[in-house]
Symmetry: C2
Subunit: 138 residues, 2 copies
Amino acid sequence: MDDRVAIPQDEFSQLTFDVFMRGCVSRETMEHITGRWGVLVMVALHEGTYRFNALRRRVDGVSEKMLAQTLQALERDGLVHREAEPTIPPKVEYSLTPLGAQAATRLLDLIEWLEGEMPAVMEARARHDQARGDHRTT
Amino acid sequence: MDDRVAIPQDEFSQLTFDVFMRGCVSRETMEHITGRWGVLVMVALHEGTYRFNALRRRVDGVSEKMLAQTLQALERDGLVHREAEPTIPPKVEYSLTPLGAQAATRLLDLIEWLEGEMPAVMEARARHDQARGDHRTT
DNA sequence: GGTTAGTACTAACTAATAGATAGCGCCAAC
DNA sequence: GTTGGCGCTATCTATTAGTTAGTACTAACC
């Protein structure tokens, strides 16, 4: 068990990252965690460990392809841990890494706030649609 | 000036919202604020008021179409306020509503955390790509 | 013992969506 | 008078998401 190519702790630590810059890797990672399925996967895994198909049932509407793709991206970014038992049939468990857990708490905070404020959003929508509809008096 | 169809304060307040349910409106709104451009627009507007093209320059890489579309969705959801002066040339200013500001602080928290942790993400990626690359020894 | 269902995926194809480009009517600056 | 800026929208194409079928095997049911 060698420790392969040593990655010095500070190889990337000098760099500055800015999500507002097109092409910055931080924007890429942001899209992984704030993407349509990224948020839901992260928040689901915050509840605990899930197997692939259980996660698919939890995240209603996700296709197998997109779930696999999302998990692979999150795993590469070090946010999700994949534990595979090479049995037959295969058993693969997904969980959050410590880093992923930090992201997940922030996402959870956001979506819990959102769910609580949805009545306000619905009212805003109703007002908006009303106004739009009105000045088009037949 | 009648006050149109009164929208009772509690018309939507009994309903429960769950982003994990396919087809729930809360998921729709979530996608508006966590979408690729939604996050960046919200965080930019947290810095202050922007005009359309100034915002377009701030959010590097966004197309006119997507910026317009994103702003319209956020406005309808009551997160962004649009103030248009009907002068020539037109002057349109975008800002956050109080509701939008609440969402924006949470998004800001997330992206600031992310930018700070990007070195960890980069290291995770390097480790991951290494491992993948390795067991394909030419 | 043969059918059905489940496991974790990938490959191939199609539907939806994002992005690029051009145009609008008008004005200010060079 | 030509160029560029304002805030968009319409049209067309490139990218991406979603759907379906298949893999190799087991466990449960009739």
